[in-house]
């Protein structure tokens, strides 16, 4: 566990926590962007360069922007009067804690079985491209269709209703 790892961890966790705790919704969106960035660094640390850059491009470049747009469109920048947390926030927190406890326990319990340091894999983009077209061509095509459908769907859902058509 190198220092880099701890730093990235700190960044990411901070970003995540901030995104969930801040009152202003826009600040939350920006915080989660920081968390996304931290995750990209994690991917780079794990020698998954392609995944890391894809993360930056897609998440920070598209999803975060999209979230901010949505916040702006729904007047989320105003601080609500009742408070930002649900009335029954404690049960939610407890459940999340339980989930973390379970996951943590599972991980720590089997930590000895997990493989240790392994040699760094060399992955070229050429390999990834070939895999995409070769072995994973079907998922690729399906994801393409999915994206198309999602696009159309999102547009239809978010579109202003025309008068007279329901």
């Amino acid at each position: 566990m190198s220092l880099v790892f701890y730093l990235i961890t700190a960044l990411t966790v901070a970003g995540g926590l901030a995104s969930m705790l801040l009152k202003n919704t826009v600040h939350c969106a920006l915080a989660v962007t920081v968390a996304f960035a931290g995750l990209a660094f994690f991917f780079l640390n794990l020698d998954a360069q392609f995944a890391g850059f894809a993360q930056i491009l897609v998440y920070i470049g598209a999803v975060a922007i999209l979230v901010v747009f949505a916040i702006l469109l729904t007047k989320g920048s105003e601080t609500p009067k009742d408070g930002v947390f649900s009335r029954t926030w404690l049960s939610g927190l407890a459940i999340a804690a339980a989930v973390f406890a379970m996951l943590g326990w599972a991980i720590l319990h089997t930590a000895s079985m997990l493989p240790g340091a392994t040699p760094v894999p060399t992955v070229t983009v050429r390999q990834i491209g070939q895999a995409l077209i070769g072995r994973y061509v079907l998922p690729l095509e399906i994801v393409a269709v999915l994206l198309t459908v999602a696009l159309i769907g999102a547009v239809i859902v978010a579109m202003h209703e025309k008068e007279g058509t329901k």
């Binding site: 966790v13 939350c28 794990l46 998954a48 696009l151």
Partner: protein
């Protein structure tokens, strides 16, 4: 603690944070943000296992993560579109007030 275990723990922590937010915040968009965080944590899991797994040259973990990112993006788009639509209808994104499904 092996490196893999460390990454997994981090991923678990992130997942839990995202879950906690999704379960407690009032704003619907913040719930979506929480969900995105959870997805990202899962991606981290995938990449960690790919890296420290037995056959990284098969690229299975990487591929999985990439497709996950793509699908997550699509899902975020649709979800936010829905939130906007709901906001247009109910004039609010407060989830505590949306109990039309109440039985």
């Amino acid at each position: 603690m092996t490196p893999l275990a460390g990454y997994l723990l981090v991923a678990a922590l992130l997942f839990s944070i995202g879950l906690a937010g999704a379960l407690t915040r009032r704003n619907a968009i913040l719930v979506l943000i929480g969900i995105e965080l959870m997805l990202n944590a899962a991606n981290l899991n995938l990449i960690a296992f790919w890296r420290y797994g037995p056959h990284p040259e098969a690229l299975t973990g990487m591929m999985f993560a990439i497709f996950s990112i793509a699908v997550a993006a699509a899902e975020a788009a649709v979800g936010l579109g829905l939130v906007i639509s709901i906001h247009r209808h109910a004039k609010t994104t407060d989830l505590d007030q949306m109990n039309r499904m109440k039985g």
